[in-house]
Symmetry: D2
Subunit: 283 residues, 4 copies
Amino acid sequence: MKKETIIALLHGPDQPGLVSKVSSWIFDRGSNIDHADQHKDPQANIFFQRVEWVPSGPIQDEADAFKAFAQNELKMQAEVALSSKKPKVALFVSKIDHCFHDIILRFKANELNGTIGCIVSNHNDLESAAALYGIPFYHTPFEGSDKQRVEAQQTAILKEHSIELVVLARYMQILSSDFLKGIHVPIINIHHSFLPAFAGGKPYHQAYTRGVKIIGATAHYATADLDEGPIIYQDVTRINHRNTISDLIRKGKDLEKSVFAHAVRLHLNNRILVYNNKTVVFD
Amino acid sequence: MKKETIIALLHGPDQPGLVSKVSSWIFDRGSNIDHADQHKDPQANIFFQRVEWVPSGPIQDEADAFKAFAQNELKMQAEVALSSKKPKVALFVSKIDHCFHDIILRFKANELNGTIGCIVSNHNDLESAAALYGIPFYHTPFEGSDKQRVEAQQTAILKEHSIELVVLARYMQILSSDFLKGIHVPIINIHHSFLPAFAGGKPYHQAYTRGVKIIGATAHYATADLDEGPIIYQDVTRINHRNTISDLIRKGKDLEKSVFAHAVRLHLNNRILVYNNKTVVFD
Amino acid sequence: MKKETIIALLHGPDQPGLVSKVSSWIFDRGSNIDHADQHKDPQANIFFQRVEWVPSGPIQDEADAFKAFAQNELKMQAEVALSSKKPKVALFVSKIDHCFHDIILRFKANELNGTIGCIVSNHNDLESAAALYGIPFYHTPFEGSDKQRVEAQQTAILKEHSIELVVLARYMQILSSDFLKGIHVPIINIHHSFLPAFAGGKPYHQAYTRGVKIIGATAHYATADLDEGPIIYQDVTRINHRNTISDLIRKGKDLEKSVFAHAVRLHLNNRILVYNNKTVVFD
Amino acid sequence: MKKETIIALLHGPDQPGLVSKVSSWIFDRGSNIDHADQHKDPQANIFFQRVEWVPSGPIQDEADAFKAFAQNELKMQAEVALSSKKPKVALFVSKIDHCFHDIILRFKANELNGTIGCIVSNHNDLESAAALYGIPFYHTPFEGSDKQRVEAQQTAILKEHSIELVVLARYMQILSSDFLKGIHVPIINIHHSFLPAFAGGKPYHQAYTRGVKIIGATAHYATADLDEGPIIYQDVTRINHRNTISDLIRKGKDLEKSVFAHAVRLHLNNRILVYNNKTVVFD
């Protein structure tokens, strides 16, 4: 059986002895590091570390103690997670269902370290599918210009379900800056192009018109600037002159599914640090 | 021994019976098609074909007769080449030498169906390397604002060597619209990004700043609009947060070499048709 | 709306004028070729062609007439299909469910040109999932040494449902030579390695032990020689020293799903010809 | 300017506090870790670490002190290198020249952290090319059954040039077990298949006959068991039914060049640890 671990993600200005101080703290508490990975950004002079260990004492106490140590003594920003705790995730969808089915089946197969707490959609097309999967479904349609009201409703749903991560499975709606600030949890979006190429709408049509030979998909954290957030993961596939826009859409679906799932997996395994609108991914 | 073939590239408005007419013409002259590939653009209603055969009569006569048939009876645009004829290529370089060495070695190893007629450069850094390879080298520096004069000189060099293709191996100079029109031969450029992402200067720096997880290279025909010409071939490679700009440049070099060579190879094997600023590549 | 087409797959000894004869036959009946692709194996001297057209007369009559022409006049082996006819497919599964869900969802999303007629399994683990999808499920367990009896039962199921293709979604059972011969329909299997590396059982364990840096999946037609049938499609993904066997299995799942679906798609679009235990794939 | 660093590669049975002890030793000597990467093999219970730092004292003294510490106090196997020291490499070739030119040009472009001390060949085809590059060339032909004598001659050449790494750029000769043991330096070989598929001779012919859809290349350390040594790096490329054996060879050349160079680069950057006939690659 796999033992419960503490996973800490640290970052802050580089200073001498950080690796030594962190590893010694853990060793001195009678534990041993299972995995450690670090990175220095030589331009920004920032130090990043992901460290994972089986604590020798009560796990929550040890996690709290480490967090205090990292913040107070090392002056580092620290996120500390327990491997045993599976975050609750909210799945936002629209009508398109390939990422929807794919990510749900992966959660059900325990490929992803979390559970889907609820599904939120501006359409009710996938309500019955959600029912078959046994997941609460909320229909929050946009009628006219009541975006603010709908987003308030969505925020309440997220709170009610104690959601810790929102994933947009081709949600196709722009989130307001207020909503992004208000929910206090990260959001992962899948964009159906190899960003920064073909940002905005209808990227497969754009790619077809430009005549590129490769298309891609990009998973990124959503920010107020559409398609401009920190990139988590990307993948590509070849196309040729025989491929119609429908072919691009079909091929792209497979990319979108795997890129989206990969990014959600990295996040739920506490492998991502964000800075300067970029990501450090300890994989 | 491989027999001499005729290779025809046709395109024009679709009409009934084109495949039948072309293949019957060849069969009726006592020959047999070795390779044929065709494509219809359903949106533009254009038909494209590449057909290759061993003629039964004198090869140049047969080629001329086919061209007349295609233009006069089928009303198609036709380019007809002989496999035995190796076009002369001009290699434009600046100071960067990885694509320079790579493409020359491929020509020398008979990987590419042509010969390098001359090397043209705005710097003389690679003059001695060109001498070791035994290839004529022309130093055509840009001093001040005499671009027009230098391009006239370059045009003369291309004519003198009966050049049929210009390849820009990281030439790093913008070609004037007049030059492009005046030389009457196609130009293949290698751009060090996955176009349309990061067009323009310093694409690896742009990629680093944006935090993409994949970089690429793009070979395209040069047009008056910088980095906007028809894309021939693209390839990509993964990068991660540990990679500095130097790493991107190093990884990119390998991409640039192989993408550039692949595009030149496709062109010299008469596998590319251009329309609507896109390419049909029969590979 | 897409028009109904006839798709013919021909192969046989090469002879002069085949392209001309086929295209002229179609043109003379008042039709026009939409897509044509051909290939000559220079070593085996075999000619292969896939040709697709909208017939001008009743589609079944035209298809029959073409088949007679191809066999009697051209002396070619010919398979002729109608784009409007969606073959019925039998899905064989065991307990592992990732390819099972993936392929069913693709059929339901109309990504694949066919319908699932029935599911056959030696275990009943996926019976309730099959019921949710609304697909008939047959439990045909192997108890002791009654393989012959079970296979007879399975053959009867295939007949009852007029199955034209069997797909093994990680079925994990060896099919007897008698069964393969008796069912008269092709079988597509997905093997979880990059064949011919790691044939046989537990390929991910084999890959881990050998220390390879890339793993793969292979879709092939099943033959009496296990893992030796004609390869349809393969794909690979990178692994590294940090990956445990569980990681290989997880990464491999994604490969298996996409490689399996891709091969089934090619088959159902009549794009595959088999000879000499190899495939010609007109994609 | 980049500062001189010490790079240590450690491995041995796992024990509590290794990360802490190593990092504290370095910190206590007034230095700071620039890069550290570690790995635990959970099955074999072996700990691996690569650690790089700028020493505060004289670099060779610090390196020696660390090596003594690692071996005596930690009881770990340790290799310690200086970033400033460029190892001398011997290049073994036969007649095939693509990897030969490629690797030499990379050394000359400072892509690889070393210098080519000498070229050794059983043929003299590349002698004049070696002269143009200004690298000593030794012709050591095998005439009849004097393998032992030739290998003794080769061993002497390696000693004379203080060679620290041998790279086989398609050398096409089996090295005797005695030679491998006698030279006391590692050997990197490039095999032109995706091992373990198609080990032995003529792998492209084997791949063609089997009808695979992807070919590959593998760089590995040479051992007495041909093609069975620890794999360092692999890469692959797609092929299809149109590709002849010549096409496979041509496509394979590009793979061989880049895979070979990548493996040599990893080795010269002290990024590879070997155990259980596998590699840990800290890249």
